[in-house]
Amino acid sequence: MEIEIDGKLANVPDGSTIMDAAQQLGAYIPHFCYHKKLSIAANCRMCLVQVEKAPKPMPACATPVTNGMKVFTHSELAVQAQKGVMEFLLINHPLDCPICDQGGECQLQDLAVGYGGSASRFQEDKRVVFHKDVGPLISMQEMARCIHCTRCVRFGQEIAGVMELGMASRNMHSEITTFVGRSVDSELSGNMIDLCPVGALTSRPFRYTARSWELSRRKSISPHDSVGANLTVQVKNNIVMRVLPRDNEEVNECWISDKERFSYEALNSPARLGKPMVRVDGALREVDWNVALDYVAHALRDVVGNSGGESLAALASPQATLEELYLLQKLTRGLGSGSVDFRPRRRDFSADDKLAGVPWLGLRFAEIKDLDAALVIGSFLRKDHPLFAQRLRQLAKKWGKVSLLSVAGDDPLIKLHAQLTVSPADLPRALAAVVKAAARLKGELVPPGLEAVEPCPISEAIASSLLAGEKRALFLGNAAEQNPQAAQLHALALELARLTGASCGFLGEGANSVGGHVAKALPTALNAYEMFAQPRKAYVLLGVEPELDCHNPQQALAALKDAALVVVLTPFADGLVRDYADVLLPISPFTETAGTFVNAEGRVQSFQGVVRPLGDSRPGWKVLRVLGNLLGLPGFDQDSSEQVRDEIAPPGQEFVAGLNNGLAALPLSLAFARSGLQRVADVPIYFADPLARRAPALQKTRDAAAPMARMSAQTLATLRIGDGVPVRLRQADGEVVLTARADETVPAGCVRVAAAHASTAALGEMFGAINVERA
């Protein structure tokens, strides 16, 4: 289709709108309700333009291009229409820009300058709209500013997958609201603040803390999950005031999750560790860096010298930067230990020595939209990977058949093709059933080891969806990677991929789930589980909080308490760490250091610090480098984080090399036996990492509610426990008391008890046996 806009020619595909064509030409047409990611509402009427031969102005956002169409965006008719609309938008608007939080970044304010009249002809009383309390994240204090563009409503319906805001009533009394007094609970809700073109929806934590023009904008990368969302971090006086998404169509599009948006509050938390500390006579004392580092170097050398290299183990968080992970493993190996890992929540490492390369997503994020079918195995999808779930949601809305095979029936807010929920122990068996169904559908021999499983109609439906169409994908989620039979799941998924031609990959738990492999932060001796199961004399912890981040916190804590030396590199110094740490070294969170995350698709994303390190904290890579020097180890002479990175990933590389999910032969076997009640542990979204845990606003959301012991009504009945009564939960030598809650999404014979929370840290294995009785 050929179209002329203000004399400039554009060629656009059939079905494009005038707005599409204008954007292609770089011509700006004023608009409010239009948003490239949302359905077209055409309700604000700001985008009215003149179209040759049309008697009245047409909305550019909704008017399809016809061949040879001539559009005028600045003609008298167009401008008069736009000015008329602007006048209407302003008559009931409070015009309180000087005290409005949106001031300086308000689309209405910007456009009013160009299209608004000078004096108001509206002399009547303005509309009164009451404020609403919709939870700790979004402020709806000034709803009189709302211009009814319904972007927020459409976002909920279309992107978040849940309609929490609506426009109630009609005529000029229409107002945006939740259902009588409800809060907005979507894990993507903060995006509505960005979408709101005026100051109606604003960030509650940010409100009145700064004016937009006082803020400098710096680029960063989200450390919170494996997507590696691109961020703009806004800074005032060396303090992070706000975090916003930065458009990257291939990674996060224009969205971020609430965890990514609001965790920044933790960066300025009083729990931040300001100075190095060393335990002297039983108490932690602040010391200077050179004292602390000398102490650590001596102590490490002593332990290794007296008890051998393998008496030392090092554990990092998958949130650590590529550079930190690399230097940590180098340091550990330099001291003669192969016990280094960055996968604290893993239980089964039997695939480690069979990996054909670096495990990854199996395809690029941008390819998800073209899939015909996808199967996610073992994932609390929405809460573990909000943006990935969003992509699958859009896929399912178009044509893709998305299925979920997991250990809890949480609603992913995706139009699923099929959903199968089984206990963690039965997950391999359920996946095996899909494999078998696929083999049968293809008329192939059933792989050996799977004789005993029988496909059910759901597994058959999943298998057939994976056999149809061109592009299909399998994704192993966090609960699959953390499963005690993770290697079997991996092998079964590969078999299913082979049979169906689907890609196969891992969603990845942390920002560097792929990067840790690239940095070789992998054990050649004890892995993340064994290093606590077989207690070591000394531990180095990097950004990890074992009492919350480990597969078996009970075991980890016991080992740490008994160790002769525990060196902790962390930004925070609150909680249990004060009991077991001998040295606390304050390192910088992601905003205060340069570093690199390699996201699930293998994309290398380096970033710079956006503020100076707080107090005496230092970038982790520098601390490790100095330690290496002090210990006299070779290869610790980098001057910058870039130099460290270049040793791992060649400069200019967009994606890391060696991505491969293959496994050397691993026989399929379904021999896993279990008896009694089994624990299903989710990692609640706002307890998942040290930053989120310390973000006050996130901690006030419903997703941060204290964990309960969730069971199906039938399990409760078998145990003779009532809904809502306190129960004692026991695993090995630890016990906790929680409230029992009937929850039909929990598979039979299972108790869902969240991990990563102080109230459950005394428990053991995430997916192990558990004892429940009335307290």
Partner: protein, 440 residues
């Protein structure tokens, strides 16, 4: 009987007795003969549409769009579901004809819709009935049951291969649902907010499927067209204005009610049928096509014939055929204020010019009516209406603006007097007497 008079009646022929609405009575009057002829005679779909085209039946819902042409827009070979929908959400002030059609002759609508469904290949239909006329909704449900029981609705009608089922859906108090796409949204269980067009319902209608929407009276006319033939129907009216039409006459006449007359009948005749002006008072102005149509001053009105072309020449619209008659006791400021309150109240709130503009218009008119008018208010009103008209998603914006423009145009002096003297040109007691409430 509320169809009080007729010339050459079709829709209202033979509606005597309390049971006229029943299936048996309808069949006795020749009902379902047209449907039978089509189905048993296996008349091709295209022929049915052609017959309707020949009749030059124009939509009776307000816009006057040629019905046959509309039907021909429906994709013939579309593989999925298609729908026909009847618009009985009669809420346009002054209009009350569809209520009487459904009350006295519901089967004519059922038969008309079934013929339409056959012609367009739709298997399902809905009739959206105004929420306020509840007994009509209940009666229509009963009529549907009768038709189903007699095999005029359901699977394999009259042994033909054609199946059609029809259901009633009620509104619950929203004028805007008379707008066809708001009506579709409402059937889908949402707020009645009009959709942007294109796409038009013929390609993206109910549940996203091809859909044709017509007014109750339009559908009710179909059996007669099939029975007497398109040409005969056209000749009953005048060129480009086929057939008869029901006019709802309200306001200052002696016998308010519905009258069926051929299009082209002089206004004076209609007025006479309605018993003439109440109390022998003088006609001041008339809104000839429902509240959204521009008001026409007495002299012009008396020269009009009641058809689309003549009324349009007089600067107004035949609309839904609602004739609101106002005599000299009417205060035009108060009349307009009440109308503009209606549009302000009934705006769906979706698009800016309508949501904000209708409230602005009302607030200014309310001020004027209450003696707080300002010298530049009339210019302001005119300017606000220009900023609304043609810039909204649906025609409610225009509907709210046209009365304002026309009242001010034709009765400017009265508005100016109001503003200047802070009171009405027509004394309050004269207005009061005009309503006849206390004297009737």
């Amino acid at each position: 009987m509320a169809i009080l008079g007729a010339i050459n009646p079709m829709l209202s022929v033979g509606l005597d007795g309390d049971n006229a609405w029943r299936l048996a009575d309808y069949v006795k009057r020749g009902g379902y003969r047209a449907l039978r002829r089509i189905l048993e005679g296996k008349i091709p779909q295209g022929d049915v549409i052609n017959e309707v085209k020949k009749s030059v039946l124009r939509g009776r819902g307000g816009a006057g769009f040629p019905t046959g042409l509309k039907w021909s827009f429906m994709p013939r070979s579309f593989p999925g579901d298609k729908y026909v929908v009847c618009n009985s959400d009669e809420g346009e002030p002054g209009t009350f004809k569809d209520r009487d059609i459904l009350r006295y002759n519901p089967h004519s609508v059922i038969e008309g819709m079934t013929i339409a469904a056959y012609a367009m290949g739709a298997a399902r239909g809905y009739n959206y009935i105004h929420g306020e006329v509840w007994e009509i909704y209940e009666r229509f449900e009963e009529a549907l049951d009768e038709a189903r029981a007699a095999g005029f609705l359901g699977a394999e009608l009259l042994g033909s291969g054609f199946s059609f089922d029809l259901f009633a859906h009620h509104g619950y108090g929203a004028y805007i649902c008379g707008e066809e796409t708001a009506l579709l949204e409402s059937i889908e269980g949402k707020k009645g907010q009009p959709r942007f067009k294109p796409p038009f319902p013929a390609s993206f209608g109910l549940y996203g499927k091809p859909t044709t929407i017509n007014n109750t009276e339009t559908f009710a006319s179909i059996p007669y067209i099939i029975n007497i033939g398109g040409e005969a129907y056209l000749e009953a009216g005048k060129p480009n204005n086929g057939g008869t039409k029901l006019f709802s006459v309200s306001g200052h006449v002696n016998r308010p009610g519905n009258y069926e007359v051929p299009l082209g009948t002089p206004f004076a005749t209609l007025l006479e049928m309605a018993g003439g002006m109440r109390g022998g008072r003088k006609l001041k102005g008339c809104i000839p096509g429902g509240s959204s149509a521009p008001v026409v001053p007495a002299a012009t009105m008396m020269d009009c014939t009641m058809d689309y072309d003549s009324i349009s020449k007089a600067g107004s619209m035949l609309g839904s055929g609602a004739v609101i008659v106002m005599d000299e006791t009417t205060c035009m400021v108060r009349a307009l204020e009440r109308l503009s309150y209606f549009y302000y109240e009934e705006s769906c709130g979706q698009c800016t010019p309508c949501r904000e503009g209708t409230s602005w218009l009302y607030k200014v008119l309310h001020r004027i009516e209450n003696g707080q008018g300002r010298a530049d208010d009339l210019d302001l009103l005119a300017s606000v209406t220009t900023n609304i008209m043609g810039r909204t998603i649906c025609a409610l914006g225009d509907a709210a603006s046209m009365p304002v423009q026309s009242f001010i145009k034709h009765f400017r002096d009265e508005f100016a007097y109001h503003i200047e003297h802070k009171k009405c040109l027509v004394p309050v007691d004269v207005q009061r007497a005009g309503s006849g409430f206390f004297t009737a």
